[in-house]
Amino acid sequence: MVLLKMKFTQQRRVRLAQGLWLLSWLAVMCGAFIFCLGVYLKTELLRRAEVMDNAEIHVVPNILMMVGLASIGTNWVASRVCQDSMDASRFPRWKVLLLVWFGAAALLCCLLVAVVVLSYALQGRLEESLKVGLRNGIRFYKDTDVPGRCFQKETIDRLQMEFRCCGNNNFKDWFEVQWVSNRYLDFTSKDVKDRIRSNVDGRYLLDSVPFSCCNPASPRPCLQHHLTDNSAHYNYEYQAEELNLYSRGCRQALIDYYMDLMNSTGPGVLSVILIQISVLVSLRYLQTAVDGAMALENPEGNSEGYLLEKGLKETLEEVKANVLDMLKFGQVDPAAEESPEAAGGEKAADSPTEKAASPPSTS
């Protein structure tokens, strides 16, 4: 009971080979596209690596790059097989390689599906990583004289200006952190001393934000300091003021940006999966049809192509039996080590059983 049998005339076989050759070159280009996509995503993630705590999200672009390269190779092999399929002398040498090829192509499709799933599943981890990274960035904003942290100020300022965001969740995060270094605080001044004393940890906290939180679209020159004090500025109401600073938090801004990026690549990846599956199915039909034609007396006659010779369950059981046989063949038999003739006899006894097992799968 053959799975999805189709009849093939000589002309249909030739057309299938030509069409599949074009399709496999298209799949090669799709593989290159997937690779470039992976590279782009990785560079975007690396650019903001300073505000990310861990690199778990990098598994998505890494898989994309590997799959892209592997897909280029596999589909190039498929195009070579198509070229040789019309030549009866050259086609048989691809027999064993095709089995491996089918396995590899199926694996690539599974990996691509996994990438799509992962890009959604890892969103939570990305958010955690950004939360910790941004918190550290804000905490070390003032440490421009400490080696290893001296660029945090520049990083956070540029990030806030580019993504139009302020703080981790919102601008109030800056109220909880001392972002003015002690180097620039006049410790002889009464104001400064009072403020430091009033804080439990001895930190100089302000209700102010850095200049990079300022919104250029505000009609009013930016108010950075004494934000919660309505009387400090003329005609100013802290609760009603919306345009003065960026209202969005940087974590949300970055998550939105990266999710947009991965979502926009989703349709591309899905169409590449479809193309790869169609190459796989077409190559299987071509292989079985050409094999059938070569077994006939008249190679130009009609032959049948199918996906699986037996039904799905029977094929799986056969594959299991083959694999077990191969494992048994690899085992070292203690009796065979002592007598080489017995080993030769065993080998002679094993090979017919293997030969009996292999023809059903390769015919």
Partner: protein, 368 residues
Amino acid sequence: MAVLKVKFTKTKRDKLAQVLWILNWISVVTGILLFSLGLFLKVEINKRGELMAERDVQYVPNMLIAVGLIACAINFLGGKICYDCVDAAKFLRWKLIMLPYLICTFFFTFCVLVGAVMCYAMLGELQEALELGLTRAMRFYKDTDLPGRCFLKRTVDLLQIEFQCCGNSGYRDWFQIQWVSNRYLDMSQKEVLDRFRSNVEGKYLMDGVPFSCCNVNSPRPCIQHQITNNSAHFNYEHQTEEQNLWMQGCRQALLHHYSSITRSIGLTVLVTWLFELSVLTGVRYLQTSLENVLRQGDPNSESEGWLLERSFIETARTNLNIIKSLGKSNQIDAAAHADPNINAPSTSKAHYGPDDVPPRPGPAASCQ
């Protein structure tokens, strides 16, 4: 005595025609490139249109766009002509058009050269436009409630952030204008009123700059207000502080940006001009060699090609005479100067002149 004479065999002529066909198609591509470069320049200038005063700098990208389109058309026609030139019979179709085509292309390459020169000459006018435009934009920075000017604050802020610059020539330009609107000044406070009164024109001036002047690379939180007052900030010296604000003026920054664009565009146009000139020379050789072949009668024979049939001075003289005679063909020619063998109309009866008198009717023909 022809200028730069070259002998052409049949194979050489054919190869020249094929090479010129390919070169013409490459020139079509460079024409498209010129067009897109002109479009790019136009977009870049319009992006900062609010910061440029009314100076006519649009003529440069417009000329590049026009030149690009005309280059496409001319080289497309040239490609068709060269494709047909391999066959002497098809060349007859184009024989009459080729000389006018060559003259047009020659003037067109001259236009390309003018375009390249204009790219470099544009910068002077651009500097003036930017200076006036930036002054105006900074003056209206505070007018976020006036229609037509309400986006200038945002434009100037984004410009200073993107180009890492402050003010027109430097940050001190902000000290000379009032950039805080009266809407946000508490007129009941003594300090505010004092400041207003101390200024001749009644403007609220301060030694402060907007937040967009702040330098991201500064190790210290940005000092925007009371910049010249050393005692207002701890451990601060106004004269030696260089990293606090952006030091470059925006006019300089924008000019630098535009000059790098126009310089690279100018270079590309010059290279295109040289390429067009070489294609023109090739087509001229092809035309003259094919005409000589037709004159000799045998399509497979060798022929000569040249740039000009006679020397440069003689050709110029001949052309001037042709142009003069074109003007003269409408004039009435006096019989004394006319050569009866050439100027046939002077001997006909219908030609009246100062010496010719209409024939008097004879006594027999008089009407009575």
